[in-house]
Symmetry: D3
């Protein structure tokens, strides 16, 4: 795959919409690329489907407290990345697969509002989880599959959610999906230059243990390995999916 699969973020057309399952997914998987896209003046919108409101092993916090602190951290991280338009859907952590019809309506609406040329989301078919079992968490694959169908099938069709059209939205079809967490990435974006900013953004997610030396090392390892596959120092990996 190597360096030949290297793709410049210049080639990723804006506006860009990122649809992620949980706080920190965005920074961890594509933060370096996003910093570049913002610097290129492209419009960027981010959606976080659950605020991670069950993602703790602390028995003394509530769902509301953990959700609220995750959102604060996500806002701080987004500020560093340069995201201006950040939306929390606030569904319950771990349960996204149970609410697909509702989630799909929300994502279709956002696609029609934001009108992205590029959508970045989780890979709905990430492989078998052997490389990273996190990639097959039901929340992740659900977001990936719903966003995929929304982008290429529902948002472009005026007969899906026609109520949206009454509110002034128009059908819209993104040009491509960039999928993160994939076992089979097809392109790599060189993020060597924006790596320090990405790291700073990731470290905002303190309550998820992201401000520790262990996490720093882990992130350095993963982005470095992607870089190695691409012939650069640090890289982020994407599988591109095009409409049929």
């Amino acid at each position: 795959m190597a360096g030949s699969a290297l793709r410049s973020s210049d080639e990723i057309p804006g506006p860009i919409l990122v649809v992620a399952a949980h706080p920190d997914d965005i920074e961890v998987h594509c933060g370096g690329t996003l910093v570049q896209l913002v610097a290129q003046g492209k419009r960027l919108s981010c959606v976080v489907c659950t605020s991670g409101n069950r993602g703790t092993d602390n028995p003394d916090v509530t769902m509301q407290e953990i959700g609220a602190s995750r959102e604060r951290e996500q806002r701080a991280a987004s500020d560093i990345v340069g995201v201006k338009d950040l939306t929390f859907l606030r569904h319950d952590d771990g349960d996204l697969a149970f609410i697909v019809p509702q989630l799909r309506e929300e994502i279709v609406r956002i696609i029609r509002e934001v009108r992205p040329r590029t959508v970045i989301t989780h890979d709905p078919y990430p492989g078998d989880g052997g490389g990273d079992s996190c990639s097959i968490y039901p929340d992740h694959t659900t977001v990936g599959l719903v966003t995929f169908q929304s982008a290429f099938v529902c948002a472009p069709g005026p007969l899906f959610y026609p109520g949206h059209l009454r509110d002034g939205l128009r059908p819209h079809k993104p040009e491509s999906l960039y999928l993160v967490m994939s076992a089979n990435p097809s392109v790599f974006v060189d993020i060597t230059e924006t790596w320090p900013t990405k790291q700073a953004a990731i470290r905002q997610h303190k309550s998820q243990g992201r401000a520790t030396p262990e996490c720093d090392r882990e992130m350095t390892r993963i982005n470095g390995e992607n870089g190695q596959r691409a012939g650069v120092q640090f890289a982020e990996a994407f599988r591109i999916l095009l409409p049929s």
Copy 2:
């Protein structure tokens, strides 16, 4: 209950939103009142949740054909009543109870768009069906209950379907519900004057057998009986439900 419960349609504040389960429900249950409201210059919007696409005993038509002809008839009837804003949600006939989450989002949105002071819909608690078993069809009680919750709980709350707000809609709380098909109506509207127009509108629903002398007689009987309870010739009956 008698004449003391007579209420003039002048007292029904517009804008008015009617949410009905099937084609013909609107004309049959409140057509005479609507004609008056239109004449009074009030804004009127009508929603039909299913296009009656299984409501036939003719084995040789398809769901599409029956749905399309029901919509044509509904449009003709609405023209006579003077309805300018008519929306078909096109859910499958008989199945509304299976899609409550989706239906609720649609009705909340329409309430936020139309911003009615008065909502007319099916009674969610119409009695036990002894007077008219049609009143307890699941499609009818489902529409009534979903519209009730939408009007008084969801549409007024900015945290229900916050995506609507991004599209420029604002929360809205109707002042009262007028419920049709109720076993315990609380008010009657004198429709003696608009009775011929109501009849003409009902007769548009030919494929539902509404253009026959039998139907004419049945409608005359029901509206006459309501009139008798109210001390006028013809009346329509409503149960009014107010927010708590």
Copy 3:
């Protein structure tokens, strides 16, 4: 209401279909009437939606064992009543409200197979449970509501479950529903003559405590009170619901 509401079982047209939630519901609520209908040579079919497979306080039996014994008892009771056509749908006890779409397809099919003129089932609107909290068990009201919609809306419509027609079934519309467990019965059937047979049938449901003197007394009391309301010794009570 009194004796004027007395109706002879001669006036209940066959074929008859009974749709009950649990084993013993049939005998307890309409067994005396059914014995008469069988004696009159009318065709009678009975459906039991769940085999009561969780209805025990014995911690040492399994769902399979309790279900199997309940079915044996139901067969013995049905033999005494004279039921030849008895179908167990075997859904899980207590969960009928969770499977309405599947249940409806099954009941529509059976109505199209049996082609009853009369359907006996639970009252979907039995009152508020004040007289007998059993009447508002979700299993009971679910069976009542699904059977009601099936009988008057779905089974008559060729566009509901059109696959049935490919298998040779034809649409069918029953003439009336006789509802049991109602707080507002409209007719009483004199079962004084068939009371001993009814009692014998009820006693077959041993594992539900129906072969005890307490149950005998309770049954005698209830059927006697219904008799008193109807001016006879023993009676069964029904609320009749007709199509609109």
Copy 4:
């Protein structure tokens, strides 16, 4: 109904479990009775199914913030009433009807833990909402119906949720349900003596507008009217439902 229906809280056997839909439902509908039950030394547990996390018209708060503040207020109110055991289930406000299977498991478990002789909850059949449309909010009737089935059908049966038994819980059947928000209350509890404490508890729910003179007047009116029906100054109204 009058004074003859007056029932002393002495006759309400403990332990008592209250299952309410939202914060404030407990204090508003049975706070005065609960204060007495606590004073009588009875064990009292309270469950609040949703933390009212969408119940605001303030567009600038999040679901987490509103839920957290509602819980703080509920804790303050419970302290005044004397509730030691307070559980928040934290389901989403307005959506309880969508999660009945999960909710039922939770309530059955709590009944088996608390082992109440008396359960207080919303009336699942409160009338048609004419007296108080709040009584037919889907969240309220859902909690009422699920708690009813849990108390009289599921919690007593070892084959419902047998996993509970592995964890040391045993089946349990409460003796009676006391239903609030009913259009047809069957008993009244004299709360004249505990009325000031009840008022103080209600006033804790500030973010729901419960600390205003208008609310004070409204509460005084409702509890006074109930008192009048019972021949005392202030009373709370219940419909009692017994197992069949």
Copy 5:
């Protein structure tokens, strides 16, 4: 894989059942093979689960109109292929994953009616969509998975949908599944001879843009590439799945 995987349509035993998600799926993916099977005198039945009733970017047509025109085109295409037995299930386009329980009952019934030795359907595990993102549309994988389970697990078991047996259907187990849209086809059928007929059939789907030179070229390319892999001019590709 090459020519060694070439399989003659002679080896595909009839009767054959094709279960496809949308209009045109059949002709596009296996039309050439079907023409041969018909010519060999084998019995062929086709099922189309949704009539593509949201598959348009024309904002001025209704779901009914688009569905009806797609069915007309499908009938014209089926006529050319020689399909005599064509069934439309008419579920809503894009929503098949939401109705799996209902869909499964329908497909099991059709398998028991048609009693196919071979079932052709979408691959439920088509790969990751990299070759053709259309292959992972939820409608396609849902039809594939439901048909797979229906064919090998449910249709053969008399305890699945026992109501079918009452209507005279008998359990049935197909011998093999031929899956289309697979990233890993195992056999290729030489369709060089029937290629012109296949093209004519595809061109009937005008409203899907199938009567254009671009589509002709695309179809020629795909079938030609499959041919190349099989060592013939034009071929269709299948992944065969056998019961365990």
Copy 6:
């Protein structure tokens, strides 16, 4: 992959929890390994999600009878393996994908009770079914996916099913998953020594045709092929999945 992937069962830490879809899945896929683990004195618990109550082609047995006989056979097989702690969840065969929310609660609870260091279950991503179509039966992949999420996401989080904690259970996170039925096993366990015991256990499943010479040969072939891949006579294959 070969012998280098050979792993001794000594390295599989106990306690061990096996979660299987149907009776016989346990013995067939990991029986030899389990016999060793028991001999090593490790605590072993087994869960069977459905009792195979539709898994027959005999039209004359009921779901209860077939379920009961399958459980008897499973108990006999478990006795031979040495399983002391065997739990039947008794969900309906073939329908596990329809009840994921309920199933997840049950499996999380069992993980918190048993507190396994190792969980053995079906591979949620077993490949495309080409090697064994049984591996992609929805029951199998559903159990695999739910157990995966339960083990690594839900059971460790105190905010998932907090009611469990009230009953004295504590959060728990297993160290690794061993997945059976995988197309891509990562380790092989040498079961040459325990092979006769495994065979004896499998033969208990008579009603599934497991006591026949054909089945013996088939089992011998599969375990022998796995052995060959691992460089021993007989082996069982697992794909190991670790938390992220």
